[in-house]
Amino acid sequence: MKRLTDWLLPLLVFLAALGLWEVLVRVNEIPHYVLPAPSLVGRTLIEDWGILSTALWVTLTITFQALLAAVIGGVGLAILFSTSRVVERSFFPFAVILQVTPIVAIAPLLLVYLEPRQAVLICAFLVAFFPILSNMALGLASTDHHLIDLFQLYKASRWKQLILLRLPAALPYFLGGLRIAGGLALIGAIVAEIAAGSAGQGAGLAFRILEAGFRLNIPRMFAALVLISLAGILIYVLFTMLSWALLSRWHDSARERGL
């Protein structure tokens, strides 16, 4: 019974909200170029699927490429930081500067130097990079110092200490960072696409929104928005599941409630 209400209630509320929207549009006869009804958005999604799915694929590809680069760069740099205070002190300011400067402000500059696609990729990378770096660095630094003593007692090499102790200890922090970075990479890609405004084959969802706006094709704008939301949800769910799969047996964050 409880399980049923757990997902049934939110679903009913969501459907009710859509229904209300539909009714308001129909009763007030709001023109579709002002506010399209959900049914029209749904129809557009199907009719324009060719254009939209290509754009979705472009955006998702860039998002995941950026995320992969952020994981490699963030984890690598965090490991480097953990081995040397000097390196950490020297390079951390760069990471902070990149983090605090809004990506919308950097994008136009990158577009001067790079191809639009590369610029978008780098923007998405820049926003996804920091949460992974900072969480990973925190995780590596939070290793139980008694366990470090134990590894030292058994004369473990730094490499073994990293592989068998520090990396597993940092895993929950890393996965937390990954969940944030996944959402941010998508946002970074969208924002940069809007700044780039690149058309043609390589156009992502954000460009389709801009283009549809110029043509007053409001239903398509909504359809593209729906896809962006769905992509965001997909990324979040994916990493939440990954996190649960890796941590559920041992970490308190993945403990079942009420146990």
Partner: protein, 249 residues
């Protein structure tokens, strides 16, 4: 009995200027159960970490009579890797020595069996009680059959009943292996029940103010608490502890 190591004039102070140990002289005999008894913050744990080589002394020396042997260490908490099963936690010392899971299996299972946890080999630390976690920790410290086992208030965080049970199990397992034990505690009764010898520490800076011999076999059972040797040891240790804290006995 022959000596295993000598601590000679050992001194240790920390960066903030706190002096933990000053002129500590102590000989640890091969095969004995030695307790380091003293008030909190008297440098007992520091002495243990110095012996383990986890830090180096500012003064004095640690002389191993015939080379430094394998050492096991048990902390106040179980200090297990939460992402690894009981088996994998006990495997760790052998794994770091280059043994594969299969090559280590016999020894790991024997160590788990000796603390009564063979059937929990696949359990993760969070599925175990506090006492069971400490048993895994002891099995890990003993899996390489070290000559010397250093224990830093290992049972202080456990409830009384678990603690008594673990005292008996520790005596049984280590008597079989002939392990030399240096055991840090602030409990007079625990030290009197477990030890062949009690070294009583003064407050900061720590040094040994009295050594008490406890008569009795190395492997003891509950009956030992009824003997006069136990009562004598408790009385002497208690008096020395009061002296250490600068109070009349």
């Amino acid at each position: 009995m022959s000596a295993l190591l000598h601590l000679r004039g050992l001194g240790k102070s920390f960066a903030k200027g706190a002096e933990a140990l000053a002129d500590l002289n102590l000989t640890i005999e091969d095969g004995e159960f030695l307790s380091l008894l003293g008030p909190s913050g008297c440098g007992k744990s520091t002495a243990l970490r110095l012996i383990a080589g986890l830090m180096s002394p500012n003064a004095g020396s640690i002389d191993w009579v015939s080379g430094q042997p394998d050492i096991g260490f048990v902390f106040q908490d179980a200090v297990l890797m939460p992402w690894a099963s009981a088996f994998d936690n006990v495997w760790l010392p052998l794994r770091l020595a280059g043994l594969s899971r299969e090559a280590a299996r016999k020894d790991v299972e024997a160590a788990l069996d000796s603390v009564g946890l063979l059937s929990f080999a696949h359990a993760f630390p969070r599925e175990l009680s506090g006492g069971m976690k400490m048993r895994v920790s002891i099995a890990r410290a003993l899996v390489k059959r070290p000559k010397l086992l250093l224990m830093d208030e290992p049972f202080a965080a456990l409830d009384e009943i678990t603690r008594l049970k673990l005292n008996d199990d520790l005596l049984r397992v280590t008597a079989e292996l002939g392990t030399t034990i240096v055991f840090v505690t602030h409990s007079v009764f625990e030290s009197a029940y477990l030890s062949n010898r009690i070294a009583v520490f003064s407050g900061r800076p720590g040094r040994v103010i009295k050594t008490i011999q406890v008569d009795g076999p190395r492997h003891r059972t509950e009956d030992f608490r009824l003997t006069s040797a136990y009562a004598q040891a408790c009385k002497q240790a208690s008096a020395a502890l009061h002296l250490a804290m600068g109070e009349p006995a």
